[in-house]
């Protein structure tokens, strides 16, 4: 039984990681219908920023987290302005190709700069060890991960509901044309949302190192997971991303724990199944 | 509630005009009739047959065709290719993949004559996206005609077309077979009164009144909707 709850806890922590990596993409997809397959490249960047700051400059781990957020957000703004902005009207295929091209470049660049080895990260001492409760191991780091994700979720929901900017985002997601007609600067709102979402991905990437490791493959490997979360959860739905990420994290952990020969088979099956049942995702509209 | 309590009968061969303020549910009604939207209740009968359960493409095969308010054409197909496609689909020849398209002389000739009847013959080899807007509106109609409909629903056929050209467009419509039942959505009252023998007025998702043009012109409620401070007129 302890094994089961352990898997549940670890899976949920993993899911929270996926949530942080995915939520930005979910909102920007829902807002502008722009398929940004390079989203996890920002996550990867965040991870590498953390590693570099810790190893080269000796920064403490927690201090690198906001730096990762800022770095990813900043780079995303540059890319959005220079490149992505021109593709908003383009078809899905073109957007896929453009952003896949960016992913290829980011993976190659990461390999060039940091090599292809797994990046080690030394977590601070207060993260090592775990809380043992009723026979189940609750690793401190994973508790931290969950707490952080929940805090971020609360901030996002509060921001969407109670700030003026949040209202603009909600309006733009709901009906872009009418929002523009009402004088909302949708492009600006989108650029900011895009930056926030990419920053969150970078933040998630930093947190990910200690749990799943970091190498140049990250941008692709986790892209698949993120796409699953986004399409299953439904576009522009924070609740949907949260639920889908949690389910995905737990299913993946459970699958690998109980039936390791199947590998990722289970989550792909879940994704295809959910999409066939609800093409717009569990909580999506349209 | 976009469309409610619709009880509508379109006698054969009659030209009907469907009018009403923006947002009254006119396009929704066409979407319901053609099967793009599913009704919550009720029946749709075509020539006595219940078509409520049929998919849109099946309704077209039963003889129900429509045009779109916004040009919904094939940008990189030529006018001739577009209409030929519609003709061949009707004949179920579109399933053939081993015979070359030019071998279907009959279908191509039929497409060409439809285009000629709408004065598009000279531009039949031009790509749709290169056609003038007015020509594209005519191509919309050509596509619908290629399906040999019994009932033709035109959603604002002259939308965006300047006044002088729209007269030509409507005369082309009125030249259509007298056995063809036509319903067109229109905002220009001159055109409506010239070409329609029956008018249906929709407001707020319901049919307000329907009847001969003279009756409608005299109807108090219609005047209020179009001229007065009726709360049904939308922004």
């Amino acid at each position: 039984m302890a094994g089961f709850f352990g898997v549940l806890f670890d899976g949920f922590a993993y899911g929270m990681l996926l949530f942080l990596l995915s939520v930005g993409l979910s909102v920007t997809l829902g807002m502008m219908n722009f398929i940004n397959l390079a989203h996890c490249s920002f996550g990867m960047l965040g991870g590498y920023v953390t590693v570099t700051l810790m190893e080269r400059l000796g920064w403490p781990f927690l201090a690198t987290l906001p730096a990762a957020f800022v770095a990813a957000a900043a780079l995303s703004m540059v890319l959005e302005r220079l490149l992505f902005r021109r593709a908003y009207r383009a078809g899905e295929l073109d957007q896929c190709l453009l952003t896949i091209g960016v992913v290829f470049m980011s993976v190659a660049s990461a390999a060039y700069i940091w090599g292809t080895v797994q990046q080690p990260v030394q977590l601070p001492d207060y993260f090592s060890g775990s809380l043992v409760f009723l026979g189940v191991n609750f690793a401190y780091y994973r508790l931290f991960l969950i707490a952080t994700a929940l805090a971020v979720t609360a901030l996002l929901v509060a921001g969407l509901e109670w700030t003026r900017f949040g209202a603009q985002v909600r309006a733009a997601v709901d009906n872009q044309r009418m929002s523009r007609g009402l004088g909302i600067d949708v492009d600006r709102a989108f650029a900011i949302t895009f930056a926030l979402g990419s920053g969150l991905a970078g933040f998630g990437g930093s947190l990910a190192i200690a749990m799943v490791g970091l190498d140049p493959d990250f941008a692709f490997a986790y892209l698949i997971y993120v796409l699953i979360v986004v399409s299953v959860g439904g576009l522009a739905s924070i609740g949907g991303s949260f639920a889908a990420a949690a389910v995905l994290g737990i299913s993946d952990m459970a699958g690998k724990y109980y039936v390791p020969q199947l590998g990722s088979f289970l989550i792909y099956l879940v994704m295809v199944g959910v999409l066939m049942w609800r093409p717009a995702g569990l909580f999506g509209r349209r | 509630m976009v469309a409610q309590d619709i009880a509508l009968e379109l006698p054969q061969g009659v030209r009907h005009a469907l009018i009403g303020p923006n947002g009254a549910g006119k396009t929704t009604l066409i979407n319901l009739i053609t099967g793009m939207l599913r009704p919550d209740g009720g029946q749709i009968l075509l020539g006595g047959h219940d078509i409520t359960a049929l998919r849109p493409e099946a309704r077209v095969r039963q003889g129900l065709a429509r045009t779109f308010q916004v040009n919904t054409l094939f940008p990189h197909l030529t006018a001739l290719e577009s209409v030929t496609l519609a003709v061949l689909e009707r004949q179920s020849d579109s399933r053939t993949w081993w015979r070359s398209l030019p071998a279907y002389r009959g279908g191509i000739d039929e497409a060409y004559s439809i285009l000629r009847s709408l004065r598009l013959a000279q531009v039949c080899h031009r790509l749709t996206r290169e056609l003038a807007y007015g020509q594209q509106r005519l191509l919309e109609i050509a596509l619908a005609l290629a399906t040999r409909p019994r009932v033709l629903l035109l959603d604002e056929p002259a939308a965006g077309v300047p006044k002088d050209e729209s007269a030509e467009l409507f005369s082309a419509i009125s030249d259509l077979s007298s056995e063809l039942t036509v319903l067109f959505i229109e905002h220009d009252m001159d055109v409506v009164f010239r070409f329609a023998s029956r008018i249906i007025v929709m407001v707020g998702g319901r049919i307000l009144v329907q009847g001969a043009p003279e009756e409608i012109a005299r109807d108090e409620r219609v005047r209020e909707v179009y001229l007065g401070r009726g709360r049904h007129a939308s922004a």
């Binding site: 997809l29 398929i35 490149l83 899905e92 295929l93 073109d94 896929c96 190709l97 453009l98 896949i100 091209g101 960016v102 290829f104 470049m105 190659a108 390999a111 140049p216 698949i224 399409s231 020969q261 590998g263 990722s264 088979f265 792909y268 295809v272 999409l275 066939m276 093409p279 | 998919r55 493409e57 077209v60 065709a65 429509r66 919904t72 054409l73 094939f74 940008p75 990189h76 197909l77 030929t84 496609l85 061949l88 689909e89 020849d93 579109s94 399933r95 053939t96 993949w97 081993w98 015979r99 398209l101 030019p102 279907y104 191509i108 497409a111 000279q122 039949c124 080899h125 619908a144 399906t147």
Partner: protein, 323 residues
């Protein structure tokens, strides 16, 4: 001025141009001029066939698939596994491999035809990944990550062996490519081909003219799957090896890049893209594969921004002629 009968104009488009004939004749040149490159030529022919099959669904019907390698892999593994346990006669293996891919294609086409946009892209991706994982797990059958061992192909017609020189291989693949090309050409210039372009141009208009879009999509998807499976079986036979890579997302992405590079919806785009891509990759094979993908990425970005219709599309702007 329209004085000629309209069908003659359409007929003119379906004629073989001298450029086309010259191209196909030139595919015979490697036998004489580049005998040491025949293995590469073989790889190019197979890749071109694979890209052509993707063009049918992507360039002509507008279906974005991120999992097309599934059919390639099914063809490859079917031919490889049967050669190991049954017999090594290449032509029958080719047919069975293609057929197997066609069956899988037909089955999945029922799902594919139902969806659009992001859901469709994700489902094609998911199905491809599922198949990969399944093949990975079933290592008793497929050899798993080590690849299929024991593939043995007998000489073609009992006379022409598949050797390192690649003469038989290239001739075999080239012939298959040409025959498949003829079929693709027929399809594209047929009423069915016109219907596919209609689906690509405006999927909303199709039901409004009475077209059974889903049936059309299922049909072309199956045809494309058979073609992709043929390509997969070819690679299994001519290289006498099959690895998981044939089913991978990498391969699905590569063929997509190749097709877009050459230009989708232009019949020759896949072939052109395959030639350029494979030759370039061969020339730069000394470079670390990571860096190769940097340039591919840059190329993709450049193509999307500046040459959205691929190289053939760029040509068409300068030498306008309807494809």
């Amino acid at each position: 001025m329209e004085t000629a009968p309209p069908h003659l104009h359409l007929h003119a488009q379906t004629r073989w141009s001298s450029l086309e004939i010259a191209f196909w004749l030139s595919t015979l040149l490697p036998f004489a001029l580049l005998p040491s490159y025949l293995q590469l030529a073989n790889q190019i022919a197979v890749t071109a066939l694979f890209a052509l099959s993707l063009d049918l669904i992507l360039g002509y019907a507008g279906i974005v698939s991120l999992g097309h390698a599934a059919f390639f892999g099914v063809g490859a593994y079917t031919a490889g596994i049967l050669s190991k346990y049954l017999w090594g006669e290449p032509l029958s293996l080719l047919a069975i491999g293609a057929l197997a891919a066609g069956v899988v294609g037909y089955a999945t086409s029922w799902i594919i035809a139902y969806f659009r946009h992001l859901a469709l892209i994700m489902i094609t991706l998911g199905l491809g990944l599922l198949l990969y994982e399944a093949a990975n797990s079933a290592s008793w059958l497929t050899g798993g990550a080590d690849g299929l061992q024991g593939v043995s192909i007998r000489p073609l017609f009992g006379v022409f062996p598949f050797d390192l020189y690649g003469r038989t291989a290239y001739a075999y693949s080239l012939l298959a490519l040409f025959l498949a090309f003829l079929v693709a050409r027929r399809v594209i210039y047929s009423p069915f081909g016109l219907a596919l372009r209609g689906i690509r141009e405006n999927p909303l208009r199709m039901p409004a003219i009475g077209a059974p879009s889903r049936a059309h999509i299922r049909k072309i998807y199956t045809i494309a799957a058979v073609m992709a499976g043929t390509a997969g079986a070819l690679i299994a036979e001519t290289t006498e090896s099959v690895s998981l890579e044939t089913l991978s997302f990498q391969r699905s992405a590569d063929v997509l890049v190749i097709l877009i590079l050459g230009g989708a919806g232009r019949l020759y785009g896949g072939i052109l893209g395959a030639i350029i891509y494979m030759v370039a990759r061969d020339q730069f094979s000394g470079i670390n594969p990571q860096y190769w993908y940097f340039w591919i990425g840059l190329l993709l970005v450049a193509v999307v921004m500046f040459l959205p219709n691929g190289i053939l599309g760029g040509f068409a702007k300068f030498f306008p002629r309807k494809a």
